[in-house]
Symmetry: C2
Subunit: 531 residues, 2 copies
């Protein structure tokens, strides 16, 4: 059973060992737990639907409750407090493009707003109903989850937009293929959602971002269907795929997705290397990316993240042993953990690993084999469960992310971390902050920052703490050459900061496009473009 | 001195050995030469300019003549006949973004049309003044050709838009870098033109297309400047770079271009391999691309192109020796030549070549070393000169290109070749047709087809022969899952076929964008979008 007020399956959790609890208490003080609402109290608050009857539209309170919120920190606080704010007035579960078009017609008749819903995993408020006098219909694509066609020569697969990560991979795996797109939300997020929000997976270094994997498909709009045929490449004018990518439900509803798949790799390994310092680690992964060594992943934790992860892992004796060994080899207090993935043919992997090993040794890298890599692999989709664990322990955790050119990566990371670390000083609260770089390119890198703080005495005051932290970090990002999002998208939470990077004319251009595809402004208002 | 009525430098030419002439005579009959106009007669036809005076605007007949036509086959025929049709009314050579903006204001005042001009190498009619009652100002960016900034950590270089291939590479090379973008037009075409027309270079397999190299920059539009900052990647909504790419002068004038550069490679080699048949070659390069073997180029000629190239190379004795050797090794009459490029670190190149060799041997590939590869390299930018050579010998040559998914590559190539080969049968004329695949992707490949035919008794009848061939081949392409262009862009020649792949709503979207950036419709009308 999926949690109604948090991440993932009720039966799954991530343990916090006693050492982790002690570590956090030392860093930011003991935990404080706010009371959780029950499902019954929230269900009782769902108001009557404002939508008229339609065979495809479900107006039950539970359906509406389960599609009201995503997984942002404000969503979390709202769900735990039981103060959801707006609910959709109905939820539809179309089974075909024809039903999506029927629902667009219904939305026009009802003069209601329409929100396309994939896995509900947005951490930026993409799918939350806006505060509007109009009714809201949420369109869940969960039933359109099948592999519809597979061109094994061209390696192009056609899926329904609602296929989630496991549905995509299991249907491909049965035929010997993989998409290779593994965002942390993979267990719940969907192909259509990845496309609409420009998602990036953990092995983007090999498989590319969703931009590179998305080959074509159909967007159902109020101006008719936008059908995008597949070509390996084209110079025939602006690429319309790029208008669907990142459209976040503003231009239309994606009804089919064609993706570039790969044969299942012969071999895949994740090796963990420790670098003696952040600066050495940073230079090393930049060089690896710029030398085009064919790896599938590079993930470098900074010193605080490294220390935090080793502590939260439990197993203090093994870790102590590991740390003694690393210190002897030159990776002491400021050490940074680097995970190196190789995926593909054995011979190619061996050559890639050899090249990586040689380069990393030049930066003082100490290889520890694949044991820690296997641990990472086993829990690669578990991090989102940590919020529940920490919440129960009396802490709030959130993440934010950006990307910038290499010459600015260190500067931007330091500024983001500093502004979060000092963000609650006025209230006498500390914030535990750490970062990693997990998507590297020739030009630069993503920066993924986690911050942990204590709730205040009330939900409202806790939300205000978050808002101040998030706002100051977002400003630091856009004022210092970072993009407001590398992989989470814009949604509602990042929309106020978008103009800083798109510019006045860029924003006007996006509005012109929204008006073109959706003249009445029914599609997901407030997301991507502020009202 | 650059030729006023054809490709490239007057002092450069490509010889046609006697064997080549005999071969063509055997294939399609002896050559027929039409008379060339002189520069003086054409200059005398340039009418008075309709533009008012401006310090940045040159209204001299020679400047206007030299910017009136590109390098399409209709352009060629017009230039050789001396019937240019429309000339621009003036040419401006801005030196800065401020001057470009000044010229946009001037164009509005004068109520004239404005055409951005890079190297004038379009083979699809991009820069030809349309037949309009309004005056036309051509804006040559040739003076904006400098490397303005180089971020050596992020490998991002900022250039003026008018830098041509040699200017880009020489300025980067002096600092130890390369862009790695080498279209066949490289000696004359420009960075801004590559971006505006979505160009692809011969080593796109390593460096990517211009879409992957273009990191940001500025587009000056009638609605203001569109400034695109550089990020290694972003999920912050639709990517505005993608609106500049392929905009073909319709949305604005590119005033600066930021590109992703690479350190100069340690080593680069081109190996020539012969495959026993087209089918074997096709399967082999598909497998190489899909296995992600890190090569820099794969270029497979079909059997007719292989035979034609070996014959046109001259050196009949060496070729006969080579062919005997190849036949002994299993590559006889239907053999296909494959050029394999490796670029990068020596160790990586050795590993890549080993992987390629093993795979190609499985398809009957016979390696002949790097001698023929060096010959290809030495003349890699010479093919455009062949049109002059063949013209002098009494033949017309043109090329066309597309891209499609692997499952359709053979089908589409056969259909294109058949329609060209039989296209002049009604007049009792033969057409010599051959193709190669030179840009391969996991999903599919480009198809590049060359066709040679004899001029008719007049220029008008010769143009009509071309028009019939081009039209029927273009229809075959768009009716059979091909894109109307993989690397040449749309221009005016491909514009009638664009709707077949963009769809009704896609075309309407492009028009909405053009109207947004250029409400009065002054920018390059007729290109990309038909009037």
């Amino acid at each position: 059973m999926r949690r109604w007020n948090g991440w993932g399956e009720e039966t799954t959790s991530m343990a916090l060992p006693v050492q982790g609890r002690e570590f956090l208490a030392g860093e930011i003080g003991g935990g404080l737990k706010l009371a959780d609402a029950t499902l019954e109290t929230v269900l009782a608050k769902v108001p009557a639907s404002r939508l008229g009857e339609h065979p495809l539209v479900v107006r039950e309170p539970l359906d509406r409750l389960l599609h009201a919120r995503g997984q942002s920190l404000p969503d979390w606080l709202a769900m735990r407090e039981g103060e959801f704010g707006r609910f959709p007035d109905g939820v539809a579960y179309p089974q075909s493009a024809a039903q999506i078009r029927e629902l667009l017609r219904y939305a026009a008749e009802q003069d209601c707003l329409l929100i396309a819903y994939g896995g509900g995993t947005s951490v930026a408020g993409h799918i939350n109903p806006p505060d509007s006098a109009k009714a809201v219909l949420t369109l869940s694509l969960e039933h359109m989850n099948r592999l519809l066609e597979l061109d094994e020569e061209s390696l192009v697969a056609t899926f329904g937009p609602g296929a989630n990560g496991p549905q995509v991979e299991s249907q491909l795996r049965a035929r010997g293929y993989t998409l290779g797109h593994f965002p942390q939300s993979w267990e719940l997020s969907t192909l259509g959602g990845w496309v609409a929000s420009r998602s990036s997976g953990q092995q983007s270094l090999r498989y590319g971002r969703i931009e590179q994997l998305f080959a074509g498909g159909t967007l159902e709009t109020f101006a008719g269907p936008l059908d995008i045929p597949t070509f390996p490449a084209s110079s025939a004018g602006p690429d319309l795929r790029e208008l669907v990518l990142g459209s976040e439900g503003r231009f239309g509803v994606i009804s089919s997705v064609k993706v570039r798949v790969s044969p299942l790799p012969e071999q895949e390994n994740f090796h963990v290397v420790f670098l003696p310092s952040w600066q050495q680690g940073l230079r090393a992964i930049r060089r690896l990316a710029q030398a085009r060594v064919p790896l599938s992943m590079l993930r470098l934790s900074n010193a605080v993240e490294t220390r935090t992860q080793l502590t939260l892992a439990g197993h203090p004796r093994s870790i102590a042993w590991l740390e003694r060994y690393l210190k002897l080899r030159g990776a002491g207090d400021g050490k940074c953990m680097l995970t190196v993935g190789v995926t593909g043919a054995r011979a190619q992997n061996a050559a890639s690993l050899k090249a990586a090993r040689r380069l990393l040794k030049g930066f003082g890298g100490v290889f520890t084999g694949t044991l820690l890599g296997r641990k990472w692999e086993a829990s690669r989709f578990r991090s989102p469960y940590l919020r529940e664990t920490l919440w129960q322990a009396g802490y709030v955790v959130d993440t934010l992310e950006t990307a910038t050119d290499w010459s600015n990566v260190d500067n931007l990371m330091q500024r983001i971390e500093a502004c979060l670390r000092d963000g609650l000083t006025a209230e006498g609260e500390r914030v535990h902050v750490f970062s990693h770089l997990s998507h590297v390119y020739g030009e630069g890198s993503s920066i993924y920052t986690t911050y942990v703080f204590r709730p205040a005495a009330s939900y409202a005051a806790t939300h205000e703490r978050w808002r101040r932290l998030k706002d100051s970090a977002s400003r630091v990002i856009v004022e210092n050459r970072g993009t407001i999002s590398h992989q989470h998208g814009v949604g509602k939470d990042h929309a106020p900061y978008l103009a800083a990077e798109k510019g006045e004319l860029g924003m006007a251009t996006l509005r012109v496009l929204a008006g073109h595809f959706d003249p009445a402004g029914r599609l997901n208002p407030g997301t991507l473009l502020q009202e």
